[in-house]
Symmetry: C2
Subunit: 386 residues, 2 copies
Amino acid sequence: MNAELPPVGFDPAEYRARVAHAQTGMAARGLAALLLTTEPEVRYFSGYLTRFWESPTRPWFLIVPAAGDPVAVIPAIGAALMRRGWVTDIRTWRAPAPEDDGISLLAETLRDLAPGPVGVPMGHETHVRMPLADWARLAEMPGVELVPDGGLMRRLRLVKSEAEITKIRAACAVANRAFARVPNEIRVGMGLDNVFRRFQMLCLEEGANWVPYLAGGAEQGGYADVISPAGPEPLVQGDVLMLDTGLVRDGYFCDFDRNFSIGPPSDAVQTAHATLLEATQAGFAAARPGATAADLFHAMDRIVTGGAGGSDAGRLGHGLGMQLTEWPSLIPDDHTVLEPGMVLTLEPGIETMSGRIMVHEENIVIRETGAEWLSDPAPSGIPVIE
Amino acid sequence: MNAELPPVGFDPAEYRARVAHAQTGMAARGLAALLLTTEPEVRYFSGYLTRFWESPTRPWFLIVPAAGDPVAVIPAIGAALMRRGWVTDIRTWRAPAPEDDGISLLAETLRDLAPGPVGVPMGHETHVRMPLADWARLAEMPGVELVPDGGLMRRLRLVKSEAEITKIRAACAVANRAFARVPNEIRVGMGLDNVFRRFQMLCLEEGANWVPYLAGGAEQGGYADVISPAGPEPLVQGDVLMLDTGLVRDGYFCDFDRNFSIGPPSDAVQTAHATLLEATQAGFAAARPGATAADLFHAMDRIVTGGAGGSDAGRLGHGLGMQLTEWPSLIPDDHTVLEPGMVLTLEPGIETMSGRIMVHEENIVIRETGAEWLSDPAPSGIPVIE
């Protein structure tokens, strides 16, 4: 179905470099280890890639000690897959075990490996993926000291390696091809729910491993919001169809959208689309090392609202990588300084009439001299579906 | 693409009944409210259905007070969609707001609505979806008292309404049709990654809204594990291909699998397949009100291991509904008593040779007089792909 896609996975050197960076950060923060519980956190260091996280039943733990390799403390059902990767110290229990679902084993392992404060991501855009009662139990175990990670995981994941950027570009390329096929595959009269199904199939045909995210809308002259599920209403002349996909290729996301006019676009829609592309270009031009996330917000907001300070969506873009959305946020209050290797979405929105918006989105990476497109930027002129 | 699917969503009466049951449970437990943070918990009472939860950036809160209707405390980007449902008290903030991402608004709302202990799901198979630092901040706010929910959400969600069972059956019907097409769509020589893509497309063609979960394997005489992602290795004669899908139709999952023999099956594979179907039938026969989750485990374990007590997979089935896996677990230690309306998977596994297993899975609902199939149970004889 798809021949030109890059090889999957990473060389162990990639993971060793991540661990080395983490250990430098742990030393600076006085941490004896990191304790990680969520899918992207565990995968970041171990390469452990499975859709089994969809099941909320079992907790999974990865410990990155201040020195030495990571240690996995995981349900036995995951041992075979973990053993395929580079992590060799794998300690398992037979989960689910509601009375003690890995907590004693985890505490024992932490005591073995990491006498001292154990950093856990607790800040913005994180959560701890284990029952809160088990967290409280762990925190009270002798010899276990759980503390905030001081923003270390955020810091590490903000800047992508060249190998990660290659994977995000590959995901974007899949979506580029899927979007290019939309005008030939989608017709007036199709229900939006079937448009969503067909578009997910196009993403799969073009090389997505799965399509965790598809949102969009189709209403007259714009859409009311960008997160609702699709209903059965058919596409009719005058609708603006928007499709926004976060597809996954080899564990990395793209996240961008395209707008389509059902029949000839109105002047208002053409103008809005042109303004969104102009705002995106302004964000792209502003995106260089030393600029802040807030700078990019203002560069785009000046064009879409005249500098009013944004809308209910709350931001005009965000980080992207192992998750659909990552730090930073393109908002006035996020002063994260951009660095080479950061991958971002530019996502300006505009009101086309009362209660109707249009949103455009592209993906970029920050380079030494400025930004580079990861998605193929949309050509001027909204594409038309007849 | 699919004509005979039932209508989407629920009547508000369904949500009112859920709230009434919750309020009865709150009264018994002395709770002033429930505070909910995860996708299924929020949706259970509000009907709020969106794939936007894929983004980890923003927290979402739903409060169910001891009397009166639920109150949503959510990012402004979600207000339009929430307003389409039956919840009318919707309080929003412009997220992301890293300095105070809804915490003050949530505390204020809790103080308004619910002086007294606020129950939060903290037990097995739950997590709190918000930054732990924000949780700690909330817990210290004056007038906010956060306590365990005493298993109330688990209790409520264990037993499905007739309307929920209809939705799970519809999801199962989609997968039934997709599995039936596999022998005509999958060929020897296809790479497993492309088999996975093609199968997801079949699920979408047959009416899935999305396919959050697909796992499986294809190796000689069985497979090493059931949670690994698909690689490019082509299907060859003698492989046993297993596809296990959790597709979603209107917010409800199915979760069952099918095995296929690539070319004529060996005697060992035929015997293993027959034994798995026999075990599933034994689980089905044991599944009636008054039996326990452990009883179902033993009924199947007797057949697949001779009563050895299971394997590393840890369980032989589980609950199913708004999530791919829910309580209870079919394990020796889960003594949950089955009741009419519980939806379960029966999922026995067997070793076919050293390092190779086969797993079979069906979905059932407990009725007054016994179990009823939700998936179309697999006919005897493993299907063959040429």
